[in-house]
């Protein structure tokens, strides 16, 4: 059972701030130091020093000192703030309330220096001066606010054009790779779609309406630079339908520059869809699974095809509760022109089904695991296609009732 003895952190140094011999060791070494960052923030706020003190205590005791957060937010919103309280408020009064504010990032995490400074100024006025750029979901995380400062911070943020992201059983802040902003491989405009969906679902982001969280992430190609397939309930991954665009001269140039095309490209193609005769590269596009490898390596010579769009996958998540899931294919291809409409329609059907059948704290992926993909497809009105499965069933335990014995 929990040890009840109270260890006092560290003797305070002359300035009245606690000494932090353990954390100070993390100022050493070449990688930028979060301890330095906290100390630097201490120039403008009293909170960072108490944060350091409490973390030092944790380092000493090998134990966290935060209490399970209660629900705090701004007026009219049901999320966007993670409440956090110290369990040693007497020792560290400045972090007795130390909430984080999730501020919705601009698509692709692009900023002007001016916008960054505006955020800094607001945060200097209202909080600890500490941030995460960014949170794992994608938000700007303003780390360390008292309850009283939430509303004022929010008001300044919205005045400056920023708004809160999601938390709780809500639509979470969507995020996307840089896409057409700076990548030649993007098969649709990830930043636009991300922004459009974020704007479209403001209500679902700010007022949790679901059985549990719902995340959408968008990558412009199968490299999936935003790890959508691992951690979003709906992953929209750019791809193409026609043939890889190929520039033979550039292939030759890569070869001349030392790329071993047989070994490093052809032999690593997952479906062996390529042949290299020392002169010419032939791609059997009907065998290509759009893995991106050859394009990645021959980056000046090959590009995704021209008939672009995305594959939509569903249900990824971390292990809690029933085990981690990778996203699985729901719609094999949506032309980029139809993406916004298709996603909107799909999301609304998924939310309806999930709202009706999802259990408390059951992610969409777990719901599908529980009821089975066929039932889920029925529920959202999608026809089964073989692209949805790695392979058809290998057990003969077929429920064939729906048809009264006739299929």
């Amino acid at each position: 059972m929990e040890t009840e003895e109270r260890i006092v952190a560290s003797p305070e140094d002359v300035s009245g701030k606690p000494e932090t011999p353990l954390l100070d060791q993390l100022e050493q070494g070449p990688w930028p130091s979060f301890v330095k960052e906290i100390k630097s923030a201490a120039q403008a706020s009293e909170m960072p020093a108490d944060l350091l003190g409490q973390v030092e205590l944790s380092y000493k005791q090998k134990k966290g000192h935060w209490k399970h957060g209660g629900i705090v937010s701004v007026r009219g919103y049901g999320g966007g703030v993670i409440g956090r309280y110290s369990d040693e408020p007497e020792q560290f009064p400045k972090v007795s309330q130390f909430h984080t504010i999730r501020v919705n990032q601009p698509s692709g995490w692009f900023y002007s220096s001016q916008a960054l400074r505006t955020l800094c100024d607001i945060w200097e006025r209202h909080g600890s001066g500490l941030t995460n750029m960014h949170g794992a979901t994608g938000d700007i995380v303003l780390m360390g606010a008292t309850t009283a400062e939430l509303e004022p911070t929010f008001n300044e943020l919205t005045a400056a054009g920023f708004d809160l992201g999601g938390s709780g059983s809500a639509m979470r802040t969507p995020s996307c790779c840089v896409g057409e902003g700076r990548c030649e491989w993007s098969c649709y405009d990830t930043m636009k779609l991300c922004n459009d969906l974020t704007q479209q679902y403001q209500d679902e982001i700010h007022r949790p309406p679901f059985p549990y969280k719902f995340k959408i992430k968008m990558s412009g190609c199968p490299n999936d630079c935003v790890a959508a397939a691992a951690r979003s309930d709906l992953a929209i991954i750019g791809t193409w339908k026609d043939s890889i665009q190929q520039d033979d001269a550039a292939v030759a140039q890569h070869a001349a520059e030392g790329v071993d095309i047989q070994k490093d490209v052809c032999d690593r193609c997952p479906t062996h869809a390529m042949d290299w005769d020392g002169q010419h590269l032939t791609i059997r596009n009907e065998d290509c699974v759009r893995c991106m490898h050859c394009i990645n390596v021959l980056h000046k010579a090959l590009r995704p095809g021209k008939e672009q769009g995305a594959v939509i996958l569903v249900g990824a998540k971390a292990p809690i509760i029933q085990g981690a899931l990778l996203a699985s294919v729901l719609i094999p291809f949506v032309p980029k022109e139809e993406l916004h409409e298709t996603v909107t329609e799909l999301v609304s059907r998924i939310w309806d089904f999930w709202g009706e059948y999802g259990k408390n704290r059951e992610r969409v992926g777990e719901l599908i695991q529980r009821v089975g993909l066929p039932a889920f497809l029925d529920g959202i009105g999608l026809d089964p296609v073989p692209e949805m499965v790695a392979a058809p069933r290998d057990n003969p335990y077929i429920y064939a009732h729906e048809t009264g014995g006739e299929k």
Binding site: E2, Y59, R182
Partner: protein
């Protein structure tokens, strides 16, 4: 502290539109990129159909940044980038330059400020990580400290592109795995190893008992009366310390300085390049918390990277390399012990047994 509170309450405006934050070169060539060049570690050059070029300088970041540092970044962006910069999905900062001449001066300034340039191509990029003792109630270990210790040791791997393939390292401080720890080349994961310590006095006040009971994936929680209070009990043999009960009920903390610690996982990936995405698999079931520098964790990560760097073929990710050489060889090469804990015993465990005579000797 607060000063200028706006007159009318503004809500549901969403984020600012990204367009206003795009460098003019990017704006002009949006969606019309042709190819990119690998200039140097941490430096990319994207060439548009128009022939215009945008240079990117990527710098490593501890992610936990003070406003002072952010202002420094803004100053650099003003100086070299017409005021434009971005952050990446792995929390590095990227400066966007129209002129190649600015690349070296910017790099020097970044290094001088303590922010190394690198993380591109076949290097080790930033460790995606979580809150740890800095902000989360659930953490079995710290995150920022472990990451700092590991990245200090991996510094040269960040500033050089000399690995066979990309190596993505991730860290999460509890089984909630905020991030993509479950699909990373190398993952460091905080683990609890003793069942929740039930706070029977106030459980009824702070939690809904049926929700609590149904939260447990293994059904280990049962209603019980303790000291006259309606409460719950945990069948200890059925608990595998996932912490889900604690997430739904503050009266079920798992933190225990004696038994909390870390585990090491390997071989996951997310990209579709070559192989399909893969989950990370258990390498080292437990390493005790040893702050401030977690030397055993650093050593284990370095060991994996070391044998990988020596043994993998070009472009092979860690998981692909292990699939080729086989898990027995991985354990041999790293010297990690293979234990009963490595053998899955959760829901789909039976499918993880080796179902062939394909064996390397």
């Amino acid at each position: 502290m607060s000063t200028a509170i706006p007159a009318k309450r503004i809500t549901d405006i969403g984020p600012p539109h990204y367009e206003q934050f795009l460098h003019p070169v990017i704006k002009r060539n949006y969606g019309k990129w042709r190819y990119h060049e690998k200039v140097a570690p941490g430096v990319l050059c994207h060439v548009a159909e128009s022939g215009e070029r945008i240079y990117t300088v990527r710098a490593g970041s501890p992610r936990l940044l003070s406003i002072q540092t952010l202002r420094n970044f803004a100053d650099l962006a003003d100086r070299y980038c017409e005021g434009y910069l971005r952050f990446t999905s792995r929390h590095n900062v990227e400066f966007l330059l129209a002129s190649q001449e600015n690349v070296e001066p910017l790099k020097s300034e970044l290094f001088a400020l303590g922010f190394p340039v690198g993380g591109t191509n076949n290097s080790i990029s930033n460790i995606v990580h979580t809150q740890g003792w800095v902000h989360c109630h659930s953490a079995a270990t710290d995150a920022s400290g472990v990451v700092k210790a590991v990245m200090d040791a991996l510094y040269d791997r960040f500033t050089h592109e000399d690995l066979p393939g990309k190596v993505r390292v991730a860290m999460a401080c509890c089984l909630n795995m905020c991030g993509a720890v479950h699909c990373s080349d190398i993952a460091i994961l905080g683990v609890h190893r003793t069942p929740p310590q039930i706070k029977h006095d106030n459980l009824r006040k702070v939690c809904e008992v049926p929700t609590l009971i149904s939260s447990c994936p293994t059904g280990a929680i049962r209603a019980a009366t303790v000291n006259g209070n309606a409460s719950v009990e945990v069948v200890e043999e059925q608990c595998m310390f996932c912490g889900n009960c604690y997430t739904v009920c503050p009266a079920m903390p798992l933190n225990n300085p004696e038994t909390d610690g870390l585990s090491i996982w390997v071989g996951g990936k997310v990209s579709n390049a070559r192989s399909e995405p893969m989950f990370t698999k258990l390498a080292v079931p437990f390493i005790p918390n040893n702050p401030p520098r977690w030397p055993e964790v650093v050593e284990a990560v370095l060991k994996i990277i070391d044998v990988y760097a020596k043994g993998a073929r070009k472009y092979e990710r860690v998981g692909e390399w292990i699939e080729r050489i086989g898990w027995p060889r991985f354990f041999q090469l790293t010297g990690f012990e293979f234990t009963r804990y490595h053998i899955d015993d959760f829901k789909h465990a039976g499918l993880s047994y080796a179902r062939s005579a394909h064996i390397r000797y």
